[in-house]
Amino acid sequence: MAGEMTARTEIEDFIVSYAHDIDDGAVERWPGYFAEDGIYQIITRETFEAGLPLGIMYCEGRGMMSDRVKAMQTANIYEAHTYCHMLGRSQIGSGDNGRYGVRTNFNIVRTMQDGGSKMFAVGKYLDVIEIQDGRPLFKERRVVLESRRVDILLVYPL
């Protein structure tokens, strides 16, 4: 029981810390939340439920994630903005073989340069989290968006 509680606390802290790093603009820390071969995908609910493979963003491994970070920091052009994540309570699966299936609902408010704060993304994280050397890491993080529609563009990871 105590062990389960520890795992829950660790996983929750991990998920919160991921969100706060992105909110704080520390996007270069994003790939470090994933296992070396971890998968990250943003996909619309419609595409996900149809069982189709192609979403909005897809990274296989930390390398692709750091390429994304490099691109958004030095190459891509977009208007400055910040995110603020609001997370629901995580539902955590059994943890067989040190792997946990975790679902967490989220709302993300985006604030643009002109001062407008608006709901930008609503959905759920469907995660597979592995404890490696006592530390949780994402083997998979699938971000399933309720809406098929993205306002303007999506550059920072969710």
């Binding site: 493979p53 192609l54 979403g55 390398g63 994630m65 190459a75 993205v150 303007i152 999506l154 550059v155």
Partner: protein, 418 residues
């Protein structure tokens, strides 16, 4: 009052001196012009993209779409024939189909339960004969005179097109031979859906129509293209215009890259980025066609484009949602014949375009910057003189705005602006 010609505008409209190389900003901001476009263009002699055939594979399938701002239903009937009609009940004008997609034998308006068959013919009216002999429709009510407003439909290369006009020629002659041939190259085999999303861009729909024809900006604004040598102006490539000018193809051949010094000399933002990828699998690709073309965008008037970037095939459909708002749909597809590895490569290359596209995400905001920049300057105008003032195909260079001049040539003609 419905606007039907430029003479109906409160403020007279004439094309500025300098012809098609000058683009009045007013065309992006004037609500009256927007209303006139709905009549002259979207209800006019053009083929409007409605959906992909694979959206409605089976008898009874329906899908909703829009032509300009008009809500549309596309159906496949019991015999496999495809129909399109305005999604507006003949009774009160309510939407008949609320769901975006589905399968049905009859289309039923929920308001008063009037129902239509898959061809749009009125088949049932609730309490038509009243109740207990009282009420109901007059005896001489003729249901056959009350069908959902139909569009003519043509299927071409797996795409479903519709038109309101009797004057629109066949899709093949509307697009013309070079465009039709290229559509066949890209799409004329069984397609497989891979995924879909859309983007709201805060600009007039024509700014995106220009954007997809703008081969000049592509490698300047979109760093990824140039840095990873997916598409640069120093590759063999060109612009092919349709005879009517308003459709075009921009293409490049990656294998012919021959670095031009101008990219470095002019300190172009887009080549400053270090080009070593930590995840090089992003750009895994295979040559699909013998013509050597590895990158193309085909723009089809009024609001459709087909993208083939390396192996990433997508239908881009941009729908006006108001004078300064456009919804841009990305329908990613592959071929039924693709093997697993090919599908995986198309999925991976999906990262290049779309709302988060490493090469294209700037288009989500750049057109809005024009919309915002031109605010309060309805009398001003933009310039399109790159590559000269002619409106002709260009097989030598893509440092040209000829396809943009082509779009406005067609626009001016269909809008009948003197």
């Amino acid at each position: 009052m419905t606007l039907s010609t430029v003479d109906d505008l409160n403020e007279p409209l004439k094309w500025p001196e300098g012809g098609i190389t000058r683009i009045p900003y007013r065309l992006y901001v004037d609500p009256e012009i927007y209303a006139l476009e709905q009549q002259r263009i979207f209800r006019g002699p053009v083929w409007n993209f409605l959906c992909l055939e694979i959206d409605i594979p089976n008898a009874g399938d329906f899908k909703t779409s829009t032509v300009g701002e008009i809500p549309i239903i596309v159906t496949r009937d019991e015999n496999g024939d495809v129909h399109a009609m305005v999604n507006r009940c003949v009774h009160k004008g309510a939407l008949v189909c609320l769901k975006e997609k589905g399968n049905a034998k009859l289309l039923n308006c929920i308001y008063h339960s009037w129902s239509y068959d898959l061809q749009g013919r009125l088949k049932g009216v609730a309490f038509r004969n009243g109740l207990k002999g009282k009420g109901g429709l007059p005896d001489d009510f003729d249901a056959s005179q009350h069908s959902l407003e139909p569009l003519r439909v043509e299927l071409f290369c797996g795409l479903v097109f519709g038109t309101f006009s009797e004057e629109t020629p066949s899709a093949e002659s509307y697009f013309g031979k070079p465009m039709s041939d290229f559509m066949r190259r890209n799409l004329d085999r069984p397609l497989k859906p891979l995924g879909m999303h859309s983007q709201i861009i805060h600009n007039n729909w024509k700014l995106y129509a220009e954007n997809v024809r703008d081969s000049y900006h592509a490698t300047l604004l979109h760093t990824f293209y140039s840095t990873f040598k997916i598409n640069r102006l120093d590759m063999d490539g060109g612009i092919i215009l349709a005879e009517d000018k308003w459709h075009s193809i921009s293409y490049a051949k990656r294998a012919t890259f021959d670095e031009a010094p101008e990219y470095k000399q002019e300190k172009i933002h887009s080549v400053q980025y270090d080009d070593s990828l930590a995840g090089p699998q992003l750009l895994n690709s295979w040559p699909e066609f013998e013509d050597g073309i590895t990158h193309s965008i085909q723009a089809l008037f009024p609001n459709l484009a087909v993208q083939f970037t390396l192996n990433s095939l997508a239908v881009r459909f941009f729908v006006p949602r108001g004078i300064d708002k456009t919804e841009l749909f990305w329908f990613y597809v592959g071929y039924e014949r693709d093997d697993e590895a090919q599908t995986a490569m198309r999925v991976m290359q999906g990262n290049l375009t779309g709302a988060s596209g490493l090469v294209s995400l700037e288009d989500g905001c750049i057109n809005e910057f024009v919309q915002r920049g031109t605010k309060g300057s309805a009398d001003g105008m933009g310039l399109a003189e790159m590559g000269g003032r002619e409106v002709e195909s260009s097989d030598q260079s893509r440092a040209t705005e000829t396809a943009i001049r082509g779009f406005w040539t067609g626009y001016r003609r269909i809008m009948d602006i003197a």
